[in-house]
């Protein structure tokens, strides 16, 4: 039985920084429907164990991007390598290394949770490697996503949140090297969301590379090592949550009280300003607020949507 034949996979070798640890390599990816460009040439990479969040307003091309990487959609142009393979030509051994969390609706309603996971796991058994034992042990997996009390329930009897956990379990049953999560926590209550975040961290610790899309900036900030912001079919920002917040808005806002009065001041050099302030005045209620990721995101997306291309270029962050 052959597993993945490493030598058969085509890799680019034109670039020194593309190596074995490069899981995603996207260059000049374009998608055109009729005369509209949904994706206008996007570039990004992901290394093993990295958690990437794809952010962007509706219609920005997030889902299209993910579906191209999953091999579910053909691209119009560009070079794409997912686990070293062109997803348009990925075989079943390649597919076995991917995990896809789909939004379930009412499929497999008559199946019992344990039965479904055990069945889907069977397909991965042929694709174990010396490093990765596939599939995930069913009971362990059920415990990992917190469905143990519901293991023998029919899928149709699960609550919305429980179904989403099952979706995640189905996505990771094959112990994927690369996991795609398209808006994973839509419909989660805060507790389920917290547990899901813990699960993502655990998967990332096991060297699983994760690409997720979300609308929730707070979530992206908590989970992702790197955030890509997609708007108008291009990546307008690419960097760690911190970097993005810093680069988009250099100014910090400082508030304080002095002689019973409230003051507000914006400055790029918050530390220097505060030092001086404290030396010279009798200040109380000091408060320093850095621009949040949300401010950054709003500024970026607003810039694109109002067509100010120059404004965007100014914000552009290039980090590798």
């Amino acid at each position: 039985m052959t597993v993945v034949d490493e030598s058969a996979e085509t890799r680019h070798s034109d670039d020194a920084d593309v190596d074995d640890a490069t899981v995603l390599d996207v260059r000049g990816l374009r998608m055109r429907y009729g005369s509209t460009d949904v994706l206008g040439g996007i570039d990004f990479r992901a290394r093993r164990g990295e958690v990437l969040a794809l952010l962007g307003p509706n219609g920005a091309g997030k889902t299209t991007t993910i579906e191209i990487l999953e091999g579910f959609r053909m691209r119009s142009a560009g070079e794409v390598r997912v686990l070293g393979v062109d997803p348009a030509r990925g075989n079943e051994a390649w597919r076995a290394r991917l995990g896809i969390v789909l939004q379930s609706w009412r499929d497999h309603g008559k199946w019992r949770v344990r039965e479904l996971l055990a069945h889907l796991g069977r397909y991965y058994a042929r694709y174990s490697t010396k490093d990765v034992q596939r599939p995930w042990d069913v009971d362990e997996l059920i415990a990992t996503v917190g469905l143990t009390p519901h293991a023998s329930k029919k899928v149709s009897q699960l609550s919305g949140g429980q179904r989403r956990r099952l979706d995640v379990a189905v996505g990771i049953v094959g112990r994927p090297d690369l996991l795609f999560l398209d808006e994973p926590t839509a419909g989660f209550d805060p507790e389920a969301r917290r547990e899901f975040h813990d699960l993502v961290h655990r998967l990332a610790d096991d060297e699983t590379t994760i690409l997720l899309t979300t609308h929730d900036l707070d979530e992206a900030e908590k989970l992702a090592n790197r955030i890509l912001i997609l708007a108008g079919g291009t990546i307008i920002a690419n960097g760690s949550p911190d970097e993005l917040a810093r680069r988009t808005s250099a100014d910090a806002e400082i508030k304080w009280s002095q002689d019973g009065q409230r003051f507000v001041h914006s400055t790029p050099d918050a530390t220097g300003f505060v030092r001086e302030l404290l030396q010279q005045h009798d200040v109380t209620d000091l408060e320093v607020r850095r621009a949040s990721l949300e401010d950054a995101y709003m500024a970026l997306v607003h810039g694109v949507e109002s067509g100010r291309a120059d404004a965007v270029r100014q914000f552009e962050v290039v980090t590798r």
Binding site: R73, E92, A93, R95, L102, D107, H108
Partner: protein, 283 residues
């Protein structure tokens, strides 16, 4: 064991699980038994009448014919409905996301439909044997004929079910197919011999599989003397194999092409779009 073989085995297991689910879900059981109960009632009322030109009960003649029709219903209609519904609800997309999952899914569906056909035949045959006289089930040849007509009938109808199920993106439109199917059944000699029908209608009936599945089942379960009221005064096994075989070959060539084309188009957003549409209809 190759991954393909493993997927086929997983598919058979999948079919087994779904078959078990069918028998433990009251709604599914009702769907299986109810049409048979109606047909049985109709046939009981036909018991008094005789097949024209003979003294043989028309009700008894109808028992095997209806079993032939049953193959059409499970092979074509249930596969078609199953595929259309499971495409809409994302079952197929799940299969696509799993290595060799589409193969497993398809083998599972075939196993399920074949299993349901066998059960369907039994549901028709057992009360038929109890309530009707004159069915010849004594010899081994009856069972052999029944078996090959079933297998060939499924091979002729399942690919058609797969093709139609792939062409309709909305399961509620599948009903369009049901009208011609009903018309075909009415003209295929299931409930009444077609020897008195206009010639052109006889030819139409004989070019489709239903007529031959009914004839094949009659040849398995009726006394040989009854062949005299069929077209050509014979059970025409050779022609049965020929016509059903031709449908099977055409279906097995076309179905994979249509299925592949359909599967290629499945993605998260296409399922989401259908879900949205279905939700709008619901409100």
């Amino acid at each position: 064991m190759t991954p393909t073989l493993a997927a086929i085995r997983s598919g058979i297991a999948r079919g087994g699980i779904e078959l078990k689910q069918t028998f433990t879900t009251p709604q599914d059981l009702w769907n299986l038994i109810f049409p048979n109960a109606i047909l049985l009632t109709v046939m009981i009322f036909m018991r008094g009448a005789t097949v024209p030109g003979t003294t043989f009960s028309l009700g008894s003649r109808t028992v095997p014919s209806v079993m032939g029709m049953g193959i059409l219903f499970t092979g074509l209609v249930s596969l078609m409905m199953g595929l259309a519904i499971e495409r809409e609800d994302g079952t197929l997309l799940r299969a696509k996301a799993v290595p060799n999952g589409m193969l497993g899914y398809l083998v599972g569906k075939i196993t399920l439909v074949a299993g349901m056909s066998v059960v369907g035949l039994a549901i028709g045959l057992i009360p038929g044997l109890i309530l009707f006289d004159g069915l010849a089930t004594g010899g081994l040849s009856s069972w052999v004929t029944l078996a090959w007509v079933l297998v060939l009938g499924l091979l002729a109808t399942m690919p058609l079910g797969a093709i139609f199920g792939s062409l309709f993106s909305n399961p509620r439109n599948v009903g369009i197919i049901m009208l011609p199917v009903m018309g075909l059944i009415a003209s295929s000699g299931i409930f009444y011999p077609i020897t008195n029908f206009p010639h052109w209608l006889q030819w139409v009936a004989q070019s489709f599989p239903v007529y031959w599945m009914g004839l094949g089942m009659r040849s398995a379960l009726l006394p040989d003397a009854l062949a005299s009221v069929e077209i050509g005064h014979s059970w025409r096994h050779l022609e049965t194999v020929g016509v059903l075989g031709a449908w099977a070959v055409v279906g097995l060539v076309v179905a994979p092409i249509v299925l592949r084309r359909m599967a290629r188009r499945e993605s998260g957003s296409s399922v989401a779009a259908r879900r949205e549409k279905a939700m709008q209809r619901a409100t």
